[in-house]
Symmetry: C2
DNA sequence: ATTTACCTTTACGTTAACGTAAAGTTTGGG
DNA sequence: CCCAAACTTTACGTTAACGTAAAGGTAAAT
């Protein structure tokens, strides 16, 4: 039997609010089953949530996160669809690489600021 | 004589709207001088803008970007202030490193998706 | 002189991503 | 049996980060 989670289980684990999980359901991002009216999240829901939050940490909007997650399993389509998907994937890759360089630059600046700070403290 | 820029100069260079630049001024982020009523941006404004947009690409809010930029020049303060600044700097560093691993993971997933896509296309 | 292309201010509108409050249901413990 | 701790739905509120429209000033070119 697969693991199951209550709304508060996931909320606590990922440090988000119950409202947030309900909101994600409203948006069709998560589809927990129900026991009576109570939500029951599956292991798969949990994975989706994890991926979603990873995207959010990178500054992507919910919609972008959903789009990205949907790229992970190419549900096989026409050649045109595959081509289009491929382009989207490569576009995201490019964006992420830009972010990588942005982070490196910012880390350099912060490192230098940290050093100055430490020198002033001696 | 230092370089100067009109609002549209900067808007075009950084691919943002004039409104956005005015908005940043409202928020006190940029302080262009004026010729009559027309805004004149300095090289320093341009640098600030560049740093701001770099922060935005990483998903930081405007306020966070401002905070980060202000970390770059430790305007010398009391030991307590320097300590506090140091902690903030290190917190941001930690956050950026989290982002680095998030990006790496996402790039792995996208690479795998890309491969699948390419295989389906042959 | 008037059109064109800039610039300005003021001010209301919009969207995303939830927060928060109200009112009600269900369920295990004492 | 009753209470407290979970859960539910409905619905209005909030903030950030601009967009957009209205109404007008200025300067160079035609």
């Amino acid at each position: 039997m697969e693991k199951q989670y209550s709304i508060s289980d996931l909320a606590k684990e990922f440090d988000i609010s119950n409202r947030t999980l309900r909101f994600y359901e409203e948006k069709g991002i998560l589809q927990p089953t129900r026991n009576k009216s109570t939500r029951i999240y599956s292991a798969s829901d949990r994975v989706t949530l994890r991926l979603l939050l990873r995207g959010k940490r990178l500054g992507f909007s919910l919609q972008e996160c959903v789009d990205i997650i949907s790229m992970y399993d190419p549900e096989s389509g026409s050649e045109a669809q595959l081509q289009s998907l491929l382009e989207k994937i490569q576009e995201k890759q490019k964006l992420l690489k830009q972010q990588q360089t942005d982070i490196k630059l910012m880390l350099i600046d912060l490192k230098s600021a940290e050093t100055k700070c430490l020198e002033s403290l001696k």
